[in-house]
Amino acid sequence: MIEDVTVTVPRRTDALLEMSGIVKRFPGVLALDGVELDVRAGEVHCLLGQNGAGKSTLIKILSASYQPDEGEILWEGRQVALTSPQAAMALGISTIYQELDLVPDLSVAENIFLGHEMSSAGFSQRGATNRRARELLERLGHPEISATRSVGRLSPAAQQIVSMARALSQDTRLLILDEPSAVLDHGEVDNLFRVIRDLTVEGVAVVYISHRLEEIRQIGDRITVLKDGRTVATGLAVEDTPTSELIKLMTGRSIEYVFPQRGDRPSATGDPVLDVRGLELSGVFSGVDLSVRAGEIVGLAGLVGAGRSEIIETLYGARRASAGTVRVLGKELRRGSVVAAVKAGVGLAPEERKSQGLLLDQAIYRNITVSTLGRFSRLGMLDSRAERRGAREVAESLDVRPAGVDRLVRLLSGGNQQKVVLARWLLRECRVLLLDEPTRGVDVGARTEIYALIRSLADSGVAVVVVSSEVEEVLGLADRVLVVREGRVVHEGPANEIDESRVLDLVMEGNAA
């Protein structure tokens, strides 16, 4: 595939966009410190870097959502000032932001054309808008998404498609995608790449950000690496740069094993810590049996929308099961009660980290201790010294960066935010840990650390359930794998007895037919 692209794309060497010496300061943070970037028409330029390296900040400057403190931007060789999002759009810069920026109560078509509505005399031309939207969705390979449906009703993956359609609804010369694949599964990513290739053939330049390095190999032409707000390498040709070197450029160290070694697990034969029987949430999934022993990691694989999140949310009590029982250490949990689950020693790191997992505008230590407040209080009075100490200990053991537990969680990078959520349950010393997409949007370095952490938790006797859309991750991390399709468990077995293609077959079955 990659060869195809390099052959068919007419390489132009003249830079469409050049950014140099870009500096962006936030109070107390130097987010960008002299970044260089040049992008050519018709290429896919990948932007790599750890969480917090400044990738999103850079592209927000490009889309004029931020103003740089220093530096200049050349567009087709001419210096431009990007003063407002409109100005950037006028040049043909379209952006798909890392955090989906759609309006839930507007329809798909209305979202696509928000800000540049098709209208006459202020009246929306709904027919034309819907028609154009359908065309765009079709071009993106998703004619099944209804143009009149409200976006809030769509799955995250479909919302991502709508964002794409939105970016394509204008005359685009430069398309920026900030981690578009985080919510997509395999098939969807392939589809996305097909669209990107079509665009580059037309001479559109693409800036692509992702933490999944294998995607860079598949789609990228050249690479720029950011580290701590500086450009450490720019214009690297994808073919000539081994992954290990990329990792080294990004993290400043080399990472040998991404997944931790599975130890031998004597405990895996003991009584189950978590035992789920016949769990059902009507209309979503049914007949789910699941048991996890102390020290065991069980992975749930499946397509986006298969109902894996619902399964673990239900067994956590965040949704009320319509049938079935959940036992922890033999004790049955009250249905639909998170409080009961937490009391029994269950913890959940939810899928939507920011809205469901964290109190973004509060300090790190408060996010860590929120489930353990009782431990630091007597008669309701908090001993905040002890509380901070407790939080700091866990944060340090997880190497949450930057150090210091008084920082607002909002300002942490994705990987570190995830560590904060894990720290919460680590502090609570829970018996069962439910992890929903624990590494979504997390960079390679932090990802490795999180894997190691999960493994060491398991080794210390915690029963772990991991949901992930990355089959590789499930297979690499889990001891046992359950494959979920359309709300049913279709396969269960040890992780080392199944391979990626088999899982994909299981997952796709029925979809393909």
Partner: protein, 365 residues
């Protein structure tokens, strides 16, 4: 430097997709369903008749129940054309204000100063100066005065909120105090009587047997519906209220839009002031007392989300009618104020509960 333009993910959770994501288990099991129900409803906004009807089923049922109560307790006294006109005339003023309020609330704001702006507009339109000018030229001068005062107050609200970044609640609370105070100063606390006959004649006319102010309310509702659902302004209002950051990134001038929303509600207050002036033939600093609460209540009961991003004009109109009819039925039955207040409190809560349950049922099948 441009600190204002450089902020992502502002006051709302930045991840829009996640905030109102139906997949997310919001609140608790009940709420998830509600969210689903609500979104479902708004997707089907295709047809005018089918959409609003299903969505507002609970409200319509509540209104019907009140009407039935009216017929049972007051019979023909309730179910007569005259009485219906009485209800409509009564609901018109607050109705026009509520339509404007629907826009502001949907756009993520709130306006506590509507009653005060109404009072100020009414006083300004009826000052001797204005009336003298109107006599010399044309009574339209009074109309222009009222609308201009409303728009001006709205403009001040909007600018302070959008550019001064003072929260709407505080800004409009301050405007409430200031506008009513100014109205008192201008009128010297006297009720100002309208002496311009053309004005009175025009506004109290009843073309086709329907009072002009009722026609005005109908027109404003219709216009409001069209603007809300069929124009870019209306759609952008939803975007600004639902996700100001997304709206900004989409190239919408959120600040300017916010200002326009407050000007719009200000103009509505000006129009309502004219309606009230014609109805009472006076301008007074006491006009429009507690209209803010009544308008907000009608809007919210109608199904508009108080936190912005979701609104319905049809719901607001039904909400206004519910309150007006309720009051009428109470009057017909000679109820004393206190019992009314208690009953109203109960009915409000029951109506909302009913609305929620029915909306869920009607969309989950």
């Amino acid at each position: 430097m441009s600190d204002q333009s450089t902020n992502p993910g502002t006051s709302r959770a930045p991840d829009v997709g996640a905030v109102e994501n139906p997949v997310a288990p919001t609140g608790d099991t009940v709420e998830v369903e509600q969210a689903a129900a609500r979104t479902e409803a708004s997707t089907s906004s295709g047809g005018l008749m089918s959409g609003p009807f299903g969505r507002n089923l609970g409200l319509v049922v509540a209104l019907l129940l009140i009407c039935i109560a009216g017929v049972i307790t007051a019979g023909d006294r309730f179910a007569s054309v005259d009485n219906v006109m009485t209800i409509l005339r009564y609901g018109s003023t607050i109705g026009v204000v509520s339509i404007g309020m629907t826009f502001v609330i949907t756009g993520g704001g709130i306006d506590l100063s509507v009653g005060a702006i109404l009072a100020l507009s009414s006083v300004w339109a009826t000052t001797f100066a204005t009336q003298n000018m109107a006599e010399d030229t044309h009574w339209v001068i009074m109309v222009i005065a009222a609308l201009a005062v409303g728009a001006g107050c709205g403009l001040i609200n909007g600018v302070v909120i959008a550019y001064g970044k003072v929260v709407p609640f505080i800004t409009t609370l301050a405007m409430l105090a200031a506008a009513r105070g100014l109205a008192e100063i201008i009128s010297e606390r006297k009720t100002q009587i309208v002496r311009v006959d053309g004005f009175k004649d025009f506004f109290s006319s009843e073309p086709g047997g329907i009072p002009l102010i009722v026609i005005l309310f109908a027109l404003v509702s219709l216009l409001g519906w069209v603007v809300f659902n069929r124009t870019t302004f209306g759609r952008r209002t939803l975007a600004v209220g639902g996700s100001p950051e997304a709206a900004r990134l989409a190239g919408i001038n959120v600040n300017r839009h916010t200002v326009m929303l407050y000007v719009l509600v200000g103009v509505c207050c000006g129009l309502a002031a004219l309606m009230l002036v014609s109805r009472t033939s006076t301008g007074s600093s006491t006009h429009g007392g507690l209209y803010e609460l009544e308008a907000i209540a009608a809007v919210v009961i109608g199904g508009t989300l108080l936190s912005g991003g979701r609104g319905t004009i049809v719901g607001t109109v039904i909400g206004v009618l519910i309150f007006a009819t309720l009051t009428n039925v109470f009057t017909l039955n000679n109820q004393d104020t206190s019992t009314q207040a208690v009953a109203k409190g109960l009915i409000i809560v029951v109506a909302v509960l009913l609305q929620q349950r029915l909306a869920r049922r009607s969309t989950s099948t």
